[in-house]
């Protein structure tokens, strides 16, 4: 029986052992070792950047000479106190929960590939697609800072981005490429 390889970019079926997709011409090689190595490295880097991203303020407001910074968590608490529950929940989920969940899911996927676990492969692939789609949404806080920092610069009050913003942006960027480095096709490669 012919062995088939699915192209991750265009979805075309390719006869093994091709390394370049017959339809879109992009790379279709399955490289379990390289994929695990890249994903683990990127995940570790993302976790490192998660720390300053949450310790330093992403947003600072300067009012009559005094500067007050707020981290993402402080921003969420402030929104909650003001009674903006839906927004507080959106920011909490997108900026704090989603990155943590992504770390956990990525680590779980990497480990189960590494250990060659064969149960619930379809669920794992679905989890993979879930983090692929939700991952970029963590950037929402950075875009909020972008809008506010550009808009609010009056004599009485002005908002500027905080030092945590860069770490946060890098962290999200790293999780996006870490997720993409995990190859969903190798989750069950040693099974059957």
């Amino acid at each position: 029986m012919t062995k088939w390889i699915r192209c991750r970019h265009c979805g075309a079926a390719n006869r093994a052992p091709r390394t370049i997709c017959r339809r879109c011409g992009l790379d279709i090689e399955i490289d379990p070792k390289g994929s695990l190595f890249k994903a683990t490295l990127l995940l570790c880097a993302a976790i490192i950047f998660y720390i300053p991203a949450n310790l330093y303020p992403v947003l600072q407001s300067a009012s009559f000479g005094s500067v007050k910074g707020s981290t993402i968590l402080e921003g969420v608490v402030e929104l909650w106190k003001m009674g903006d529950y839906p927004v507080a929940i959106i920011i909490f989920v997108a900026s704090i929960l989603v990155p943590l969940l992504k770390f956990a899911i990525l680590a779980y996927l990497i480990l189960s590939i590494f250990l060659g676990r064969c149960h619930k492969i379809e669920e794992k692939v679905r989890l993979y697609y879930l983090i692929e789609i939700t991952g970029p949404w963590s950037l929402i806080d950075i875009f909020v800072v972008l809008v506010l920092a550009a808009l609010v610069h009056f004599n009485s009050i002005s908002i500027i981005a905080g030092p945590g913003a860069t770490s946060f942006g890098i962290m999200v960027f790293l999780t996006i490429i870490a997720a993409h480095a995990v190859d969903e096709r190798i989750l069950g490669v040693t099974c059957e």
């Binding site: 079926a13 379809e122 875009f143 909020v144 972008l146 860069t166």
Partner: protein, 206 residues
């Protein structure tokens, strides 16, 4: 077995033989039930319309003010470009570059390549449509105007108690751009675009 007649399940990697479907029907994986493909018919007409509308609206998004606020007699307004530039001015070069990529360069690329792909398919340009589609395939993940739209709303909720807010023309155009992007990426989908490309050039593929 002709590889063009084979479709592999994106979830469980089981190969299936592609069967012709009626308009609007969906093929599912025999093992895990995931959707394999849908019958879309001549999708290039819809992609063409979405591309033209999207490009015009994105032009409006870039050129006109997004938001105007009034705070204690002072007025402030931003465009998308100014927003990104002010991050750079405040010393956040990396974040500004990231924003430039995902909010301007990739969205433009997504819309322009979708438009070019459809135009080339309608006119019979095999190679142009393929290259446009390769670029689309590589860029669509990195367009984040949908996230930006939600971020604008969140930002407004944060300040609406202190300032009066006026949504500019670019904001309404951005809504349209997001709708177009959702239509292209989730409604049509990159794999359907490739399938259609292959269908039209079925006998002509080298």
């Amino acid at each position: 077995m002709d590889p063009r007649r084979v479709v592999i399940c994106p979830i469980c990697q089981t190969p299936h033989l592609r069967e012709p479907l009626e308009r609007g029907e969906e093929a599912h994986c025999s093992r895990c039930g995931a959707t394999l493909y849908r019958e879309r018919g001549a999708l290039e007409q819809w992609v063409f319309i979405a591309g033209v509308v999207g490009l015009i609206l994105f032009g409006v998004t870039l050129l006109f003010p997004l938001i105007t606020i009034l705070l204690g007699g002072n007025r402030s307004e931003i465009t998308l470009v100014e927003g990104i530039f002010s991050l750079y001015e405040q010393g956040f070069l990396l974040v500004a570059l990231l924003a430039l990529m995902v909010l301007i360069i990739y969205p433009s690329l997504l819309l322009a390549t979708a438009f070019l792909y459809a135009l080339a398919l309608l006119l019979g340009g095999k190679r142009v449509s393929r290259w446009a589609l390769v670029l689309f395939t590589l860029s669509y993940r990195w367009s984040m105007v949908d996230i930006f739209l939600v971020a604008v709303l969140v930002a407004m909720i944060k300040i609406f108690e202190y300032a009066s807010i006026h949504f500019g023309m670019a904001f309404w155009a951005l809504l349209g751009v997001v709708a177009t992007q959702i239509f292209l990426v989730y409604g049509v989908g990159v794999e359907a675009m490739w399938d259609r490309w292959e269908e039209l050039y079925y006998d002509k593929v080298d």
